[in-house]
């Protein structure tokens, strides 16, 4: 092998660089997202549906709302407990969850999802 020493040293350095992130982060768990509720949301106790359902399926609920409001003009949502809500991300959801950075963004950033809601919908002003 010509220049065997150089190649082997190069390989070792390359392998070291490649594995550095694993070595560097070994034993450390990434910080789990910890979405915070605003006092208003805490006080309300329930969202439009069960917490478990909202945690799992809020995106499909919002998608359904968007479709029904924009396409069908049906702007009121009757929750499974009979309560009636105005279907609006900006007006209804963000009224309670007015802490977007500590509520929405926590998990969205952790999971690296980037919903384009906020291109148009206005996020509430926060005192960070």
């Amino acid at each position: 092998m010509y220049d065997g020493g150089k190649i082997i040293v190069g390989l070792i350095i390359g392998l070291g660089l490649l594995l550095f992130p694993f070595y560097y982060n070994a034993g450390k768990a990434a910080k789990a997202p910890d979405p915070q509720l605003t006092p208003k949301a805490k006080e309300a106790k329930v969202c439009v549906e069960e917490t478990e359902y909202m945690r799992r399926s809020h995106m499909s609920l919002l998608d359904t709302w968007r479709h029904e409001v924009v396409r069908d003009g049906k702007r009121y949502y009757t929750a499974s407990n009979g309560k009636v809500y105005y279907k609006s991300l900006q007006v209804t959801c963000m009224d309670c969850h007015s802490n977007k950075s500590k509520f929405c963004d926590q998990c969205h950033n952790y999971l690296d999802v980037d919903p384009y809601c906020w291109d148009c919908h206005i996020e509430p002003k926060e005192n960070k």
Binding site: R66, G73, Y76, G82, V84, D119, C120, H121
Partner: protein, 267 residues
């Protein structure tokens, strides 16, 4: 003795059942969010063919400016300061440009150069909806020609198809509109803005008629002079606009094209 025969027992039982049911239904409907529940089914939200009559005998520049201001503030329509990128939902245009087929060189002084209030005509046969490749714009059952900003891909076919120029394209992000021209933008925190690359236009205040309110321009104009703008269901012969249309001679913009505009002008 019990003092109650079978007939009386059934009567009372039946009545209590009815009361019980009524009470429960009323409770379920009203208790959880009385406001929302009471707004749910207002007669105004049940139109079949929304339309508008603009009474130009009552209209003046100040009222038009008020209408434009009311609409554009409500819907976060930015002023970009550049006519080539202008975004407008409702605006002013001269007689000559509003009714090109009607104009001639001897037109009365009253109408020569006079401004008219223009907005989307919410056509009966809207050419914009025919050409939209994604159905981002379509005609609702109640007559509103609606935009779904989530679906718009910004191809601008609708802008080419609309004979009235009611559609505007967002060449840039509306939130980057010059701050000096747009104090406090976005002006309405309860309504979205648009994003770069979508087409927008008047939606006949769909979000307001859903709550039983009149469109913002109608409210603004009529607070100055009643019946300047008349809004209602053209399918209902007893409605305000139908009454107005019966009583006055009206014209529409470019009716010869067959798009069936639903905004009428009393001249």
């Amino acid at each position: 003795m019990m003092g109650m025969d079978r007939r009386k027992f059934l009567k009372i039982a039946g009545l209590s059942a009815m009361m019980g049911l009524g009470g429960k239904a009323a409770f379920e409907l009203l208790a959880p969010g009385e406001l929302e529940a009471s707004l749910k089914e207002l007669p105004l939200t049940e139109g079949k063919k929304w339309g508008m009559v603009v009474d130009m005998t009552k209209m003046n520049e100040a009222i038009m400016d008020r209408c434009i201001e009311a609409c554009h503030t409500l819907h976060n329509v930015p002023n970009l300061g550049n006519p080539k990128e202008e975004i407008k939902w409702i605006w002013k245009e001269t007689y000559e440009h509003t009714f090109p087929g009607q104009h001639h060189e001897y037109v009365s002084e009253e109408y020569h150069g006079r401004n008219f209030l223009l907005l989307c005509n919410h056509c009966t046969n809207p050419p914009c909806c025919r050409v939209c490749p994604t159905k981002a714009t379509w005609k609702r059952d109640d007559g509103v020609v609606m935009m779904d900003q989530h679906r718009c891909i910004g191809c601008r076919f609708c802008m080419a198809a609309c004979p009235y120029g009611v559609r505007s394209f967002n060449w840039g992000d509306p939130r980057k509109a010059p701050a000096a021209l747009n104090p406090g933008f976005p002006t309405n925190m309860d309504y979205p803005t648009r994003s770069k690359g979508v087409v927008e236009k008047c939606n006949f205040c769909a979000e307001r008629i859903a709550k039983g309110q009149l469109p913002a321009c109608v409210e603004a104009a009529n607070s100055v002079k009643p019946h300047t703008l008349v809004f209602g269901d053209l399918d209902d012969p007893t409605s305000e606009p139908r009454k107005s249309l019966r009583e006055h001679y009206t014209i529409r913009r470019k009716p010869e094209l067959g798009s069936g505009p639903n905004v009428y002008y009393i001249i």
